[in-house]
Symmetry: C2
Subunit: 388 residues, 2 copies
């Protein structure tokens, strides 16, 4: 029995940074996924290890389940009904298990993800031997929610095959979870995100779990239903950045220029609200899809200007903007800025030739481009009974 | 007897476009000048034409004073005590005199300036024959106040040699006018600007007349005294733009997004006020020149982001920004945007080698760079008695 779960990445359509200062923000799922496959060995396999393969990274880790039990005896396992935070002492014990794997220096950034994996796995499945394989279409650390997509798909796979999973394994194709189970997955994923990020907002795992779009403000989340098919070019500048330092720099600027920055955050709040309204509104004779796209483009341009005003742009981002501007396409950075990813709206009527040209020009600058549909499905799972 | 007058160009340091919507703006003089030399022939010259040479443009025009008197008899002349607007009928008569000169098509944009010249000349000096030579360090139509500098230096030269000029011709070097005469020059220059621009704000001629800096808001002007020596690199993108269309596009955006844009204009207002405060503040142990420059740079970056949010940037402007950013220099567009000029602060401690590199790189893009001191003297005159 094998279960596969897939969970999407996310982009921030409007409001990054300003959200920290009380403005509304809008996040949306993208149709780029992280896939987690979970398979338990049959008794005849005589297999007693927990195996984790991170395919894209080329990392394979393996622990004898006895070693996990020894290092980490207090894990109760099978407590899927009540996701809990990993206690600091347990975190230390898990860290020992991770250290023993001697992850190469270049991949040491993944240690927190591996720690989250061990906590989620043992919390839901205890000390069962298993093989877990992870594939992802999402670049790591680029602000596209790769860690949340990993935690969501992992938690879903674990819960699907747990005693309380209550799944009909005979159904075929990609299936959705019931609401109560989505809620459970989202909570566990948030616990994993805490191990990876310290103080995550909960936006990434919520978007990855439920898909579609979310408007959030001062801790409150509202799921919104998109009424337009948006397609974005996502350009990864591959410039790494320090999100904490960028958030701090905006706060410092707000301290130095309180009046100006308060007004800037107010402007962003309006933009996020307008964007949510346009995306939710039904297309009609009064406002057809082209007009809606033009409005979204204008709001993206405005939001980008305000992000530049906050000081979180970067030469690489400006290069993307300048390149897409040549083709009259609107772009904005998404996420923390200072590098990372840039969104470019691809209007419905844009020719494929132009898209190819833009991508070729951006990739010649050393950037990596992906086209993504915006606001699609969240978490889905798929069973494969024949697999043993 | 020859008089030379020189009047500076201007830049907008903060607040362009937003000023139309009620925000404060800050304009400053630059040490790039337009020079007007005025010389009357001696009786022995037997010279009866009014001659205008625009040296930089390579245009020389000449009218027999009898022809001017004939076409334009109602000019009273010598009415320097009360500058008045050129009546529409008179404007038509002057237009005939300008048309007769058959200005080449490529230079026809100067016709309004020539019209302003004839109105100011005859209003102050009547039908005297004279030779007027104009030189300028200011590019035309680039938003650096070239027309105002022309009107101010012309009016000053005309008034200096008028009966009411009341000048001590024996003083040497560049001299300043008394306040009452500056006021007179400023008013005449404004009348000239009206012929050239239709509805000028009066900022350009005021800055050119008085020099230094001006803060203005909703029609109110306040002269401010700079307490720091600012040096800017002014990059002319040489991309022409339509100021009226740009102003209209910002207004349209404000109609489409009233809440967001109101907040944007509020942010700009704060930036202009902060900038004026920093520039006026005395340097001290608490805030030395380097810190003051860093604050100005931050405010420039913020203002530029807000201008991008208004949608008045341009690919050429972005190229300048990206180039100067590589050298960690802060830039913003100045004036209407959509091309035109970009300001880059040159900090006191910046090495000449870096400045040379930046200029070389910008000029390799086809732009033209000038270094200008900011907030210097306004109008000055100089007599040359030996000249006959």
């Amino acid at each position: 029995m094998e279960v596969r779960a897939r969970a999407p990445g996310k982009i921030i359509l409007a409001g990054e940074h300003a959200v920290v200062h009380g403005s509304a923000a809008v996040a949306a799922s993208i149709d780029l996924y992280t896939y987690v496959s979970l398979r338990f060995p049959t008794p005849s396999d005589n297999h007693d290890t927990l195996n984790l393969q991170l395919k894209d990274i080329g990392l394979e880790l393996s622990w004898p389940v006895g070693r996990i039990k020894e290092a980490f005896p207090e894990s109760s396992g099978c407590i899927t009904s009540s996701p809990t935070s990993c206690p600091p002492d347990t975190l230390k014990l898990i860290a020992t298990l991770v250290e023993e794997q001697n992850i190469p220096e270049a991949k040491i950034g993944l240690a927190a993800g591996v720690t989250a994996f061990l906590w989620l796995y043992t919390s839901v499945q205890g000390y069962k031997p298993a093989k877990v394989v992870v594939n992802s279409e999402l670049p790591l650390g680029a602000g596209l929610g790769s860690s949340a997509a990993f935690c969501v798909s992992l938690a879903a796979a674990l819960i699907a095959l747990s005693d309380s999973g209550n799944q009909d394994f005979s159904r075929e194709g990609w299936l959705t979870f019931e609401d109560s189970q989505l809620e459970l997955v989202n909570k566990w994923a948030f616990e994993g995100e805490k191990i990876i990020h310290g103080k995550p907002s909960g936006i990434d795992n919520t978007v990855s779990t439920y898909g579609n779009m979310i408007k959030y403000k001062s801790g409150g989340l509202a799921r919104i239903k998109s009424n337009m098919a948006l397609k974005m070019l996502i350009t990864d500048t591959k410039v790494g950045r320090n999100t904490k330092a960028l958030v701090a720099s905006v706060s410092e600027r707000a301290v130095r220029h309180p009046n100006a920055m308060t007004a800037v955050f107010t402007a962003v709040d309006s933009i996020s609200n307008e964007l949510a309204t346009i995306i939710q509104s039904a297309s009609s004779a009064d406002l057809d899809i082209v007009e809606k796209e033009e409005k979204v483009e204008e709001l993206m341009e405005m939001n980008q200007g305000l992000l530049q005003c906050m000081g979180v742009s970067h030469a690489s981002i400006e290069t993307v903007l300048r390149t897409t501007l040549k083709y009259k396409l609107a772009s904005k950075l998404t996420g923390a800025g200072g590098g990372g990813c840039v969104l470019t709206l691809l209007p419905t009527l844009l020719s494929g030739t132009v898209v190819d040209k833009v991508i070729a020009e951006l990739e010649s600058c050393g950037f990596q481009c992906k086209i993504a549909g915006i606001g699609g499905n969240g978490l889905e799972i798929c069973f494969n009974i024949s697999s043993s």
